[in-house]
Symmetry: C2
Subunit: 150 residues, 2 copies
């Protein structure tokens, strides 16, 4: 019997999808980490800069939520990023216990380099896949994510 995708039922159930996802994600993450490191960054730094770029001057709690890490973990990364001159922290005038994180010029420069690395990584990932297939993949992944968070 044909599934319409070129796989029969015997093959389809060979590997749990969670295992396939874990292995793929490990391989792909490792490749991405290498590219980011070569460009002078890391995954958390990239995710933090990306979150800041899409919505500048965020409070740390918002930022931690956007990146998917705890506040203390974010503090840890921001310490390094601030020391490296990538971001600044200043108190929110409206509430002095909130701190607003902003990207510096050097942060923007690194962001651009990391974005290049991310774009190159993405191009490599998409090889052999049509836009439709990539869109379908994104939709399937979104379903998986929803399944574990609900």
């Amino acid at each position: 019997m044909s599934t319409g995708y070129g796989y029969d039922r015997a093959v389809m159930h060979q590997q749990p999808i969670g295992l396939v996802l874990t292995r793929t994600s490990r391989a792909v993450s490792r490749a991405f980490d290498e590219r980011l490191a070569a460009a002078g960054g890391s995954l958390p730094v990239w995710l933090i800069l990306l979150a800041l770029k899409t919505q500048p001057a965020r409070s740390q709690s918002e930022l931690a939520g956007a990146v998917g890490i705890r506040g203390a973990t974010l503090s840890h990364h921001l310490d390094g990023m601030e020391a490296a001159g990538l971001v600044t922290r200043r108190r929110d005038p409206a509430s002095r216990r909130t701190s607003l994180v902003e990207m510096t010029e050097a942060g923007t420069q690194l962001f651009l380099r990391l974005r290049e690395a991310a774009v190159a990584h993405d191009k490599r990932l998409r090889a052999g896949l049509s836009d439709e297939e990539v869109a379908h993949l994104a939709a399937l992944l979104a379903t998986l994510a929803a399944n574990v968070t609900s």
Copy 2:
């Protein structure tokens, strides 16, 4: 214009597929880690036991390759697993510098518990997806993995 998947081109390119994969994989991995921990294991322990189950009495270098980690990292995990009574290491009679890793009865018991957790995780992941969609997802992920390793 319709792509046939219910997504139009404007939506399709909103998010790089690498980012979607990273985020999905983080969320899914975290959920899986929690299940494995609740069952008394961890991801590396699960992957090592799984590799041993599918091909018993492997040398450590084979095992490290199958799991996707370095030899020294495997030694580290095996130390803990051996101390916990999950595996044994014995010298290969054919070549005394090679060590064969075997699962103990306790290792088998843990393997079964972790497999239960993995099956439950997989069932949850598949919610709302047909067998055909899961098979297609697996094929797409295989393409991504091939793209970064080639």
